[in-house]
Symmetry: C2
Subunit: 518 residues, 2 copies
């Protein structure tokens, strides 16, 4: 079998098939030109839906049965509730009770709260997961325990795969903080408000059957209708679809670590020096503790210069909302709210805009706005000396994170990774990353607590910082410095078996992940 | 050829083909079950669109050339500017200059302002029009002067035809009151503000190439993005896309005719007597002078009963906006703004919701909200004794009106036609209508200045009015009364040649229209 592996454009060997589907090796950025047509789901007719618009069925299991749940189907869920989701586990509990086997779970992401899914992976209810596996499910896969091969996609890549028919969703289950009996839904109000439902947009548009699950049913019309009932087959009421306090997960406070604060300050300073922070610019800083500090520094610079940003791309949080309300930003273009201030602002402020992977990230559209963002701040678990980066596996080889919008954001005009030189005495900059998630040609700057490395491809940035007092180094210098302190890192040890494939934004395979040798 | 004609479910003879496309005879309401998949337009890639999102080209002709305009293509436009549109004529002027022939024009509707299009129909630039032909273009077709056969569809039928791939749009030209260089667009602001762009939604989603034309370009992002730039290929700036004072057309004042006021009052009274006007009800009254009076009477009854409506379906106008702002209505679900108060309200009030034929009318969706409206007030040029109705031709046979949302609204829970018994001494109620646009089984009540006729199928309504003092008559009595006054009307005289087909909401053919014998 290994003989038919093919080397892709970043030097990784790609198998001819993943889960019996043909795999196209990554060809380089912008090199793969799609052929064919967008996927066309079956044509429905109003004649088969209730005239009064009432699509309620008694419970989730009934809805799954009426939707025709059977062996081998692909079932999707979304992750706007993040680690507070209460719905996905119930879907597979019901499927397991119904004795259905070999399902593909196609979540927009999974979280530690989904650890009970391992039971359904073990008993054969689920064959494999296509989607981010944050934490326990990733570890489970890395241990070689999942029957099929996981497929990791970016948020934009997930939209692309659905739109292009690479993944055909049989049944989408959309948990909605507010919905009406027709299936119109939004995330703005209700006890489980999560802001928006953009990650479920493709699912609603392309799935054969769509089930909306809500704990806040209101009379028609549910406005705004972020999800259109015209795509929905069944509506299920449930006591509780999410745990609000866990919907807001991840760091929501500015870092207190002096090293991280310094990295944040350096990043903002770099952006200022090279001229990125100018009137009408746009930025995406992310939601970690360092990122929040960068937002704050951006705000300070903007106030001082008396300029404002045209838009911030978010993951929204209290800091961005403050900037919007202060008038430092014209618009927040938001893909997922990270705290309740984000939810409130999206509900109240028409300039806090809910977006979807279609508008922001889908590479098989007629453009998307990720490439218009002036500066994008991203993380990474590892970066190599060619600026290739990893966000899914750790240096010990375990798959522990999803891609999120990370690959999509690499198309921003200036991509900066502010990262510590090492974590737990393991250097971040390597000769080769464990898993390539993004090609180095799209990553422009690495900012560490010991200096800034600019990608040699960005002659313009190198020129712009020439006379500055920024602590500039080559990426090799940074790597050596880390190795002087921590020693040369060991590579992870793997079995032959592939446990997951990492897709690029265009549906090609940029890398594979193997079972960890334990 | 006539031998292969087939009689449809309302007794009209349907040819096997229209414009060389197979024609399916109307089978009865809800009887035609679609097979197959929604249309999939070609997959695009960001690699072929500018990273900075700037899709501007110098002018409309350049855009058409870059979009690959060639003989036989289908070109679409929308009619939110109604009789003030300045764009469609320019599209075909450019096509004519480029020497392109045999185009299909696929407008969501055409108006008297499009009379110059006759030149391009005559010189062969355009082969035929698929869409409403209000006024001169309809007369032109009725005179047998159009090469191909016109195809008339409801707003919902137009969405259905595009979604299902019955009409494949090669190039959509979307005139937008506000847009950004990426192609995001809305109708809310700018010198040509028309409120919304819902009629262009299908075009943006399914056309192979999409051109946005605007006279109010703003920096990205244009929010709200009623049209997504992710579907758009080119953006063209132009001095003026519409004449605002003509965008608002049709009657915008309550009728002063005593007969019409009486019809309006009777209609409202009927609705009250049968229990339609209750707390949380919904209504669609339309925009004519009688309709506006009905809205006013509805408002009076609601105030008196201290109830409110959950939503009004619109065509919005000042009267509805007043009711929304007074708190008599929770939501306006608006398909097209009919005056500038409608535009203002939609811009300012989140409860004044822009809708599209997808949400409101598409019969090949998983329901639509037309069937949820408690009472719908519609017009007709003719009604027959079986309650079949005509909205496109006059009794002299000339095609002078489009279907609009009329067919789609017939699915409302109670459909009432308030119509005068005769117009210009021509009786409206006939033994047989000139053209059947809607089957009688969906039309419940006829209200005239000489009495109310209830469709015998609606035993519930007949029961509800039993003890009322409403002036109830049979439709035969009303017909006889009109004929006593005006004499028995003559039927229109036609040539054999079919000049247009009238589609039902499911894509089947409910009737054909023939050339008028002059």
């Amino acid at each position: 079998m290994t003989t038919s592996y093919e080397e892709n454009a970043v030097g990784r060997m790609i198998p001819p098939e993943v889960n019996d589907q043909p795999a196209i090796p990554f060809k380089g950025v912008g090199k793969h030109k799609p052929a064919g047509r967008k996927y066309g789901p079956p044509i429905a007719t109003c004649a088969e839906y209730p005239d009064d618009g009432d699509k309620r069925v008694p419970d989730l299991k009934t809805a799954l049965v009426e939707a025709g749940l059977k062996d081998g189907m692909t079932i999707s869920t979304h992750h706007h509730f993040r680690n507070g989701d209460l719905v996905a586990n119930q879907v597979f509990e019901a499927a397991s009770q119904l004795g259905v086997k070999n399902l593909t779970w196609f979540p927009s992401a999974s979280f530690p709260c989904h650890e009970p899914i391992t039971e359904y992976l073990e008993d054969g209810t689920i064959h494999h997961i296509e989607g981010s596996m944050n934490g326990p499910l990733g570890r489970f896969a890395s241990q070689g325990k999942m029957r099929g091969v996981g497929v990791l996609r970016s948020h934009g890549g997930r939209y692309q795969a659905v739109q292009d028919g690479e993944v055909q969703i049989d049944i989408a289950v959309i948990a909605a903080p507010t919905a009406d009996p027709f299936g119109n839904a939004n995330g703005l109000t209700g006890p489980s408000a999560c802001g928006l439902l953009g990650f479920a947009l493709a699912d609603s548009q392309y799935a054969h059957k769509v089930i909306v699950v809500t704990d806040n049913l209101i009379p028609f019309p549910c406005i705004p209708w972020q999800i259109h009932g015209n795509y929905v087959d069944y509506v299920v009421e449930m006591d509780k679809i999410g745990v609000p306090e866990k919907i807001v997960s991840g760091t929501t406070r500015i870092t207190k670590s002096p090293d991280r604060l310094y990295i944040a300050e350096l990043t903002a300073q770099f952006c200022d020096v090279v001229g990125i922070i100018r009137d009408g610019f746009s930025f995406q800083t992310g939601a970690g503790g360092t990122s929040l500090a960068i937002s704050k520094y951006f705000g300070d610079i903007m106030r001082q210069k008396e300029i404002k940003a045209r838009f911030a791309r978010a993951g929204s949080n209290q800091y961005l909302v403050d900037m919007l309300e202060e008038g430092l930003i014209d618009y927040i273009l938001d893909g997922q709210t990270f705290d309740l201030e984000g939810v409130r602002s999206m509900r109240e402020n028409p300039n806090h805009v809910n977006t979807s992977p279609f508008t922001s990230y889908n590479y098989h559209g007629k453009g998307n706005f990720a490439s218009m963002v002036d500066v994008v701040i991203l993380g990474a678990t590892e970066v190599d000396v060619n600026f290739n980066a990893n966000v899914v596996t750790h240096s010990d080889g375990y798959l522990l994170h999803g891609i999120g919008g990370w690959q999509n954001c690499l198309f921003g005009k200036n991509v900066i990774l502010p990262i510590p030189l090492f974590r737990d005495r393991i250097p971040i900059i390597r000769d080769e990353v464990t898993t390539i998630c993004g090609p180095g040609e799209l990553i422009d700057v690495i900012v560490t607590e010991r200096g800034i490395a600019i990608n040699p491809r960005r002659a313009d940035l190198l020129e712009a910082v020439k006379d500055s007092d920024l602590p500039l180094k080559t990426i090799y210098q940074l790597k050596e410095e880390a190795e002087r302190i921590c020693g040369k890192p060991k590579s992870a040890q793997f079995e032959d078996r592939i446990i997951a494939a990492v897709k690029w934004v265009d549906g090609t395979v940029i890398d594979v992940i193997r079972q960890v040798k334990e």
